[in-house]
Symmetry: C2
Subunit: 181 residues, 2 copies
DNA sequence: CACAGATCGTTTCAAGTGAAACAAATAGCG
DNA sequence: CGCTATTTGTTTCACTTGAAACGATCTGTG
């Protein structure tokens, strides 16, 4: 029987959402920074300058969200946005002096919050926990690519590929049918 | 220095979101059920009938979201919604025959997905992981109530309480000032 | 060199979200 | 009792989200 309290996807979601909210309280009201904006700042904090696309890759946010977060930060004077001289599609995003100062104020708050949160665990437990997270992430990635394969074959969304696959199967290239079912 | 890849709030968020998305693929396309709707169904699966408020408490969703999920499920004939005879503010939400059948089809899919996901860990590791999650949840709850206290005193959001506190401080009851700063 | 396709970042649009206002019903207090 | 406060669930409204369309730029191939 499905017990929601012990159902891991549910537990992870509730925990992650609560963590995000509480952490955001450390900087949202004080600095007027949204969660996506904070992520952009955190990424630039360790590497500069970056293009929007670099930030998309590092942040796991979609490019629209990054675009909006960057626009807000540029508008408020925390980031400078220049066009890359060698490739005019690319931006060169970097902190202004104000942006750097902002990062220097928020980063310690975030790290301190994390430290207080993780004080619930001993160092050994912390290591164990992050190790288990690594494993789960890897498993998830593996399942995602399996699903991707199945997806191409079942084709709810990609009529083009589905038709080709169906044609192949009709043509007797039925090896894939077993995988599909 | 703040390394986003190892920053736990960030890792939890990315993992939880990916888990949700992948799990949702098990039922969204097949049954036209959204994530909030699935949560309502999962909760009713173990206890029936419930009021909207009961579902709010058990699901950690806000009442607007629950209201909309329930409305959708009622409209499509999966739930019956009656007024409670003893308290007409309360609803008595329960599966219809179709709703029960839907639950009986989705729940195994969800559990099976979880089983495949958790196959990344040994039983011992799984137990360790859920135990660590318990501890982190408890820590978060403790931090939330600490914050709640600080919040009432700093009062960004509650002008009423802030004004009272300010009046008290002006009146010389300044014991709280140290806490506030 | 031309041009078809890929890449980058922005914008649009429809859907989802949550805080707050709300109506209806009940509880509690004088 | 009568009236105020609280509880319950819905709706409104402003905002966020992400998929898709888009314009601009670059790349690769013939």
């Amino acid at each position: 029987m499905l017990e929601l309290d012990s159902f891991l996807p549910y537990r992870l979601n509730v925990l992650a959402k609560r963590v995000s909210r509480q952490l955001a309280r450390q900087y949202q009201d004080r600095f007027g920074i949204s969660i996506p904006e904070w992520r952009v700042i955190a990424i630039l904090g360790r590497e500069q300058p970056l293009s929007s696309n670099d930030i998309v890759e590092r942040s796991q946010m979609d490019k629209a969200k990054v675009s909006r977060a960057v626009a807000g930060l540029v508008e408020r004077g925390y980031l400078s946005r220049q066009v890359h001289p060698d490739d005019q599609r690319l931006l060169r995003l970097a902190f202004t002096a104000e942006g750097r100062a902002l990062y220097d104020r928020i980063a310690p708050l975030a790290l301190d919050w994390e430290r207080r949160f993780l004080a619930a665990l001993t160092p050994t437990e912390r290591a164990a926990f992050t190790g288990l997270l690594d494993r789960l992430e890897a498993r998830l990635a593996a399942m995602a690519s399996e699903d991707e394969t199945a997806y191409l074959l079942s084709g709810e969304a990609n009529a083009e590929r589905l038709r080709k696959a169906a044609a192949d199967m009709d043509a007797g290239k039925g090896i894939l049918r077993d995988i599909k079912d």
